[in-house]
Structures are given as structure tokens and as C-alpha cells.
Subunit: 337 residues, 2 copies
């Protein structure tokens, strides 16, 4: 809660998220398909419109589901009963309407105006291999048009945590929006959280991300590959030693090995929630972050926030797509008792 | 197989399908939502563009998957290893591209040119209630623009079976395409199959459908409600007595009670394939028809064709959406041994 709520002209929010506004196109694919097309398994690769067309033509029948890393997290927070807003840019086309509909229908405030010209709404072609791993090829399209002017100061200042994705560093305007939002949040004495997004994204922006983590980020989310890449570490433990003390709270995920939450001297080991039938790991990290951010902004301790994150990640991997299918609030109530 | 394959200028096909080209938008909904919006549970209702917009605004977050009853069946036939072609109209918009991509990626020949003007690609808002029942609200959009000129004579003449949906009787041009296709097929000594589609659709076109079944249709697909509605019968058995002898083969589905296949004196009782977790019944009938049509055009007897249909329907109801997620060919090989 803010020190002086009366100074705010909108109601305080749990979390405001800023990210690329993307519609996912998911299809099953064999490992052979990834090899034939030279796709980096498990990673997110940026492609242009022409590449997206070629790859879509070769792709099997798909399912369209609204996506985008931070947008998925915001949908998860709303499904947990938290309050949130999202900033991200679509075009005024059919997929843009789908994105806007879905995030609003999930219960997230979304007011970014769609672009009236330029590239089409961003899409991410996701190939789900038989091991349930997802390989992502993203055409950023209209999402690169999100600029700092579209991030509402009063909304960011009203949120307990501003959540940003590393992917925002790829389009220059979005990067400016990222920096503006972080500055507003800190000026209002709010917290700033960051997801490193993807090991290749870390490769592209390593120095900037190290600088951010070391002094500007309060809550960091990274998976094993990302944190190892950030510090060019020899392994997970080595990376853990590097990140300790750099940000207030670091949440490090390791797939079915669970996650670690480190805050100063406090270290919590969070087991993964067992899932009988892992269908598609798309969104596991996004919904883990949803659970943790919801927990932190709703009075839960670090360990309990981590457990909520693990429950949400378990829901995400039991079905195709990254947005929650079940009401996460009920799942958490059942598990935590 | 045709009597004289050399007379055909395209390779013989198992099945050619003609239907409305629709993208489904699926979302979970409570029964209360259906009541509040006056929706007829379990049925398909036609709505206009304005109604579609209002309802979409009230709908929860969705998943977009290519649909359309006959188009789903054609995707199922291809997944079984059968050969097929589809005629149906989309617009040159994003959802039209999705439809065209998905049906081609499924392995179905699809050459209908998209409309360059007029209404947007058809969409069907599908509300999946907790009992896995689906309630459909369809905006026919561009699909009403499919006319008889777009049905290629040589393709229809080359297919063992031409498969038509009762829904085609709603748009007048599509109805003309339906009648033309049936005439071409019979002139080429091929078979014509029909799905009654929906009990309300039967209500709208009862006399025409009775006339079709009684003399023009070789293979009929209907569920219990549809066949009861067609003959305004007192119950299933009463309807069964009415349809016997009217068409060569009648395939009557009864949900988890299984199905009946009646051909003259031959009657087969086909048990439903048990499914542990019924998620969404959308497409159960469409994929049942896929299995039966594949069986009939690939040398299987009536009983075995029915069993293939039951296996395919079982796959359809174990996940969201009407298109098969698993390779039906492998499922059938495993089940039939």
C-alpha cells in the first residue's frame, strides 16, 4: 500500500505489467522439424514477417491463444484474484482484437490503443515437441511500436510492483518504455520486477541486464539457463553465488527440479508440483512469476509465494498454451488449505 | 474406385467435403452464462455480426481453432491417412488465413479462393460448460458467399463420397452449391453423404431434409435429437423405424450410449469408446463421421467403420476443440490391432 493513497488518482494495483503483446500459434512438431528448419530448441528466436510466413506455411495445424510473457503473467495474477494492468501494443486487426479481448476477459485492465498502421499484431509460432518442450519463433510486428508515451505514469505509480520482461530490450521504443516505467515506479517508492525472458535474449543484452540486476531491480525471475548466461557461469551454483546480494529477491527456476528463492540470507527451496501428464511447457515460467508476484503483493511470505508459483506453473504445463485454463485461485486454495 | 479411372483428370479421392469455413473461438463458461444470454444449450444458433461482437465482449478468454463441421471431418479423414478435398469460403483476413493454413496443414486439398470483399471470415463462439457440453453461436460471415461455381466438377466426380452438411441449407448460395455437388456425384455414380448438423437446423429445413434422405442421400449422419426432430418422432426407436430403408446407410449417434449403423437389414451396435476425462464434446460427431467415411472408402465393413468412428470421437472429446490433436491413424492401428 502507498504511504499516501489520496495522492493517487487510480486505485492501487497489485502489479502493472509491460511487455510485448503477442498472439501464440501453437502446433505439435517432431524434433526432426526443428532440425530441418534450424530452430534453436527451447529458445525464443526473433524472426521477420517473411520468415514468419515461410515457417507458418510449413507448420502443422495450429491453435491460436493470446500470449506474451508478461501478459501471460498478468492473466495468471488476475486468475489468482489479484489486480493488475497491462501495457503492450497490437494493431487494429483480428489478432489484435483477440489479444485485447482475452486479456480484458481475464480481468486485466488493458488500455493501450491499437496501432492504426504499420506491422500486423505480433505472433509467436510455438512448436511443441513430443517431450512437451516448446520452441518459439517470434515476429514482433506491432509490439515494437509501444513507446514510453503510452505508459501511464499514474498507473505505474499506483502498482505495488511493476513487472517488465527482458524481451522489451529488443525493440528500441519498448526499451525506452521499460526504462521510463522503472523510473516512475522507483520515484513512487514501488518495486520493480524483471524476467530475463530467454537465454538468447540475455546474450543480446548481457551488459545492460547485469547493470539492471545490480542496482535497479528488486525482484528477479530467471531460469537456470538464463542466470548461467547472465553471469557466464560454470553452472547453476556458480550463477547463484553471482546473483546473491545483487537484487532484493531472486527467483530461480529449474524446471522439474523446482525453484529457489534467495533474498539476502534467506534461501527457500521450492519443489515443483508433480504433474501426471505434461502436455506443453509453454508459459510455465510466466505463471510461476504470476504466483510469486501475487504472493508478494498479497501478504504471503517468500516460501508461500514460491509455493503458489509452483502450483500455477503446474497448471500451465498440463495443457496447451500459456494462459491458465483453471481458476488459479481455487487451485491454490485447495493446495494451501 | 471409379470404373474407368483414366477418364478422370485428377487422382481419385476418398472424400470431398463441402461446408461452411469457420474458425472456432472456444471458452469455458458456466451454465448461468448461457441462461443470462438466452443461449440454447448444446445447439448451434446463427447470429449476425453485431450479436457476435456483443457476445464476444461478454465471453471469457478464448482459444482460436479452425472449425466447421465438414471441415473438421475432412481434417479427421486426413489424420486417418485418407485423401480428401474441401470447398468452403473465407475472406482474405487473418482468420481466413488461419483456416486455410490449418486445413492444408492437416493434409486436405483446399483451393477455394478467399473473398476479397464483404463480410469477415465466419466464426463460431463456443461456450464449453463444466459438463463438457458445447453451445455454439455462429456468425456465418464470408462462408455464405460460397456458390455453385466454386465447386469443381472434376474434384467431386473423382471422390468416392461427397460429404455435405445440413448447415449449408442456411445460406442460399451454399444450398445451390450443395445441390450441384450432389448432382455431379450421382451423375458420376459416386455416393453422397449428409450430416443433419443440428436439431434446430433440421427444424429450419425439415421438409427439404426429409426429401433428401428419402431418395438422394446414400449415407446419413444424425445424432439422436436430429433424427427425432427430422421425423418428429416420439423417441429414438420411433425415429429409427422411420429412417430405416430411406437411405442406404444411416449412422445414428447417441453420445456416450454409442451409435447405430443401419443398412437395410444390417444393424450394428457400436459402443462408445470410454474416455477418462471428457474435456469438450465439440467435434465428437464430426470426427465420428470422419472415422466412418474413412472406413467406408478404405475397404472396411460397416461394423469396423463404426468402430473407427467411435475411436475418433473419443479422441475429439478428450481435448478442447474439434480438430484431432493426435494422429488418428496411430490411435486406430493401436485399437484395432
Amino acid at each position: 500500500m502507498p504511504d499516501n493513497p489520496a495522492a493517487l488518482d487510480v486505485a492501487p494495483l497489485d502489479v502493472v505489467g509491460i511487455g510485448n503483446a503477442i498472439v501464440d500459434v501453437l502446433a505439435h512438431a517432431e524434433d526432426r522439424f526443428l532440425e530441418d528448419h534450424g530452430l534453436a530448441k527451447g529458445a525464443m528466436t526473433l524472426i521477420d514477417g517473411a520468415q514468419a510466413e515461410t515457417l507458418y506455411a510449413a507448420m502443422g495445424p495450429g491453435i491460436e491463444i493470446s500470449g506474451g510473457s508478461v501478459a501471460n503473467t498478468m492473466a495468471g495474477i488476475a486468475s489468482l484474484g489479484g489486480s493488475g494492468a497491462f501495457f503492450g501494443k497490437v494493431r487494429d486487426d483480428q489478432l489484435g482484437e483477440v489479444f485485447a479481448h482475452d486479456i480484458r476477459a481475464a480481468g486485466v485492465s488493458y488500455k493501450t490503443a491499437p496501432a492504426k498502421e504499420g506491422e500486423a499484431t505480433a505472433r509467436c509460432l510455438i512448436f511443441v515437441t513430443p517431450d512437451a518442450q516448446r520452441t518459439m519463433q517470434t515476429f514482433l510486428g506491432a509490439s515494437v511500436a509501444l513507446g514510453p508515451d503510452e505508459v501511464a505514469t499514474e498507473t505505474v505509480a499506483a502498482a505495488q510492483i511493476t513487472y517488465l520482461e527482458g524481451y522489451l530490450f529488443d525493440p528500441p521504443l519498448a526499451k525506452a518504455a521499460f526504462i521510463k516505467a522503472a523510473e516512475i515506479a522507483h520515484a513512487a517508492e514501488r518495486k520493480v520486477a524483471l524476467s530475463l525472458s530467454d537465454p538468447f535474449c540475455v546474450d543480446r543484452h548481457r551488459e545492460a541486464f547485469r547493470d539492471l540486476v545490480d542496482g535497479h531491480i528488486d525482484v528477479l525471475f530467471a531460469n537456470e539457463e538464463e542466470i548461467v548466461s547472465l553471469y557466464q557461469a560454470s553452472g547453476f551454483d556458480d550463477a547463484l553465488q553471482s546473483v546473491r546480494g545483487k537484487c532484493d529477491i531472486a527467483c530461480l527456476t529449474r524446471g522439474d527440479k523446482g525453484s529457489l528463492i534467495v533474498a539476502g540470507d534467506e534461501v527457500h527451496i521450492i519443489d515443483a508440483v508433480p504433474v501426471a501428464n505434461v502436455v506443453d511447457t509453454t508459459g510455465a515460467g510466466d505463471l510461476y512469476a504470476a504466483g510469486v508476484l501475487y504472493g508478494l503483493t498479497n501478504g504471503h511470505g517468500l516460501a508461500e509465494a514460491g509455493r503458489i508459483g509452483a502450483i500455477c506453473a503446474g497448471e500451465a504445463i498440463a495443457h496447451m498454451g500459456a494462459r491458465p485454463e483453471a481458476a488459479l485461485k481455487n487451485l491454490v486454495a485447495k493446495s494451501l488449505g
